[in-house]
């Protein structure tokens, strides 16, 4: 059984005019059969119109995850906003397992008081209940945080709705030139904002573990150069501009180092750069092969990387201190773009089969490989911080779009901006 919803998200921030034309869409292209029925009652707002329909944001988050099946609004028997107004027997009749109610009130016209309660309908018990005061600009993020709490309370897994995505967009100008933009949006694609724009290519954004810095590759000075940009302050530093390739930045779990690919020695090799001291240590020493795309294992002591030392690109593992690398992938003759799930269990990669490229996941303990996607033009996998979903880039109708698939392959989502090429996604960590 395939569920198929199309949810158009309004309220698109008009960062730039060409963005304002785009419509952000999350489409569930394959859902879990075990989607949990939940009743989401529109939050009450006494005597005023709230600047944001928070329950709609929560509804889109939960439905878009593929793990929940919110009751249609017309089926809601009543409109309670707090526990005293809830008749649990009604909601049991609707076979809803969870019930979310809440209300928003205006404190002084600028600050809003938000409270919510999540109930287990069958036990007639409150699972979570909280109250917040936020400015109008904080309502959307708070809605995502409430969705995270509902998700966690009912699935036992960490919710990732309050996270962000970074990605690169490309538009073709009328004169044949291109405009590249590095953008950051909410996890649902809303609130896109441009953090870098260039006529030259931008590649490989990667989030710092604190979720406030992005490292990326920019060709703005005529060749590859690695930058680190802080989202909160806008501060931007060039951290690698050596002769040759400067690319594939990846943050260490402590946020103090970057693994990089540099070819300053004549051949692409993996290095580790200490950001504060600028100390550079070389990890790989294989002068005949391409060694690139290093990512850290959660133990902080080892890296996975792509190398063609065996003739074709495969994923290898090496100690951060160097030494002999051991091969990790054996299935298929093309495996690249490794990303490790934050829990350390899975390796996501681009898996080539007969000239087509798919996202596959390998269980690092057993070595079992599962191909998760179908188009054959899939690349750049990036794990969600809860290790459950994998965001990646693919193509539809000749345009780059983003998509996500669950590690078990059962939930599939598509997230794209119509008419604009989108590529190179990176899912942020959970913001502290």
């Amino acid at each position: 059984m395939t569920k198929r919803w199309l949810i158009a998200l309004g309220l698109l921030a008009s960062v730039l005019s060409w963005q304002a034309r785009a419509e952000l869409v999350i489409e569930i292209t394959g859902g879990s059969e075990a989607a949990l029925p939940i009743a989401l009652v529109p939050f009450g707002s006494e005597g005023f119109t709230a600047p944001l329909d928070m329950s709609e944001v929560i509804r889109n988050d939960l439905a878009g995850s593929g793990r929940f099946s919110p009751l249609p609004k017309q089926d809601l028997i009543s409109q309670p906003h707090e526990q005293a107004e809830v008749n649990f027997a009604d909601w049991r009749l609707l076979r809803s397992e969870g019930l979310l109610v809440g209300k928003v009130s205006s404190v002084d016209g600028q600050t809003y008081d938000v409270q919510f309660q999540l109930f287990d309908v069958y036990k007639a018990q409150q699972l979570v209940g909280k109250r917040y005061q936020v400015p109008a600009s904080g309502l959307r993020r708070l809605a995502h945080q409430i969705a995270d709490q509902v998700y966690q309370a009912l699935t036992g897994e960490i919710g990732v709705f309050a996270t962000r995505l970074a990605f690169v967009t490309v538009i073709n100008n009328a004169d044949g030139s291109k405009r590249f933009a590095l953008q950051v949006s909410d996890a649902d694609g809303a609130n896109p904002r441009t953090v870098l724009q260039s006529k030259e290519p931008i590649m490989s954004p990667n989030w710092s573990p604190d979720g406030d810095r992005l490292s990326y590759v920019s060709f703005e000075n005529g060749t590859t150069e690695v930058f680190v940009q802080e989202m909160s302050s806008g501060r931007r530093d060039s951290v690698a501009a050596f002769k040759g390739i400067n690319s594939a930045p990846s943050w260490s779990p402590d946020g103090k180092k970057l693994a990089l690919t540099l070819s300053k020695g004549g051949n692409p090799e993996i290095y580790v750069l200490e950001l504060v001291s600028g100390n550079l240590s070389r990890v790989t020493h294989n002068s005949q092969s391409i060694d690139t795309e290093a990512v850290w294992l959660p133990n902080s002591n080892e890296l996975l990387f792509t190398s063609d030392r065996g003739g074709r690109p495969q994923i290898y593992k090496v100690s951060v201190d160097g030494g002999t690398a051991s091969r990790v992938t054996f299935e298929g003759n093309y495996n690249s773009s490794p990303d490790v799930s934050p829990d350390g269990r899975y390796l996501a990669m681009v898996h080539g089969i007969s000239g087509k490229y798919y996202i596959a996941v390998q269980d690092l303990a057993s070595g079992a490989v599962k191909v998760l996607t179908e188009t054959g033009r899939d690349e750049s996998p990036s794990f969600a911080p809860n290790s459950r979903m994998i965001l990646y880039a693919t193509e539809r109708n000749g345009k780059g779009v983003l998509a996500a698939v669950s590690v078990d392959g059962r939930i599939k989502q598509r997230l794209g901006e119509a008419g604009i090429d989108v590529r190179e996604p990176a899912w942020s960590p959970i913001r502290k």
């Binding site: 590649m203 060709f219 390739i245 690139t292 792509t306």
Partner: protein, 194 residues
Amino acid sequence: MKVIKLLTVSLILVGLAGCSSLGSSKKDSDAMQNGDVSIEDRNADSSGLEGGKAYGSDVNSEKQVIVGEGGYQDGQFNDPSSPLSHRIVYFDYDSSTVRPQDLPVLEAHAAYLSAHPNASIRVEGHTDDRGSREYNLALGERRALAIRQILMLQGAGINQFQVTSYGEERLAAEGYDESVWSKNRRVELTYLGR
């Protein structure tokens, strides 16, 4: 001194696929002029003209050039019958091995660079858009370096080169079949300051 340089280059070239075919120092000007070299020149009409250099009206009379003796004239960069007008070299899938049919053109560029030590050239590597972008960035550089090594073996100096890779970030053509991919797997040569 040039011998020392060439020796160094030869050492660098150990292990370079296809280098055995480079050992020939045969200067076959007929091959240089041969129009069936399978290289497409997308820059023939646009590049190299901005400098306002006066090109001789005798461009077409310069056919009998002697490669290696500095016989090439600037005008030949735009003369389709000259190998110097060919400044794109194509590659097989996931390969940085230069095809034998491209060697005459590279020999001509090497001869020009050798005879004009002040000339410099940008060697830009590209790939098709399949697979990993980062791996392709490295593959593009490997292609560019393979071209540079051949040009150096033939007498060009290392300081005459600016090597860069765009990987799959600057496609020459877009599409989903081998005819498109093969146009993207390339190294572009651009003479600087011309």
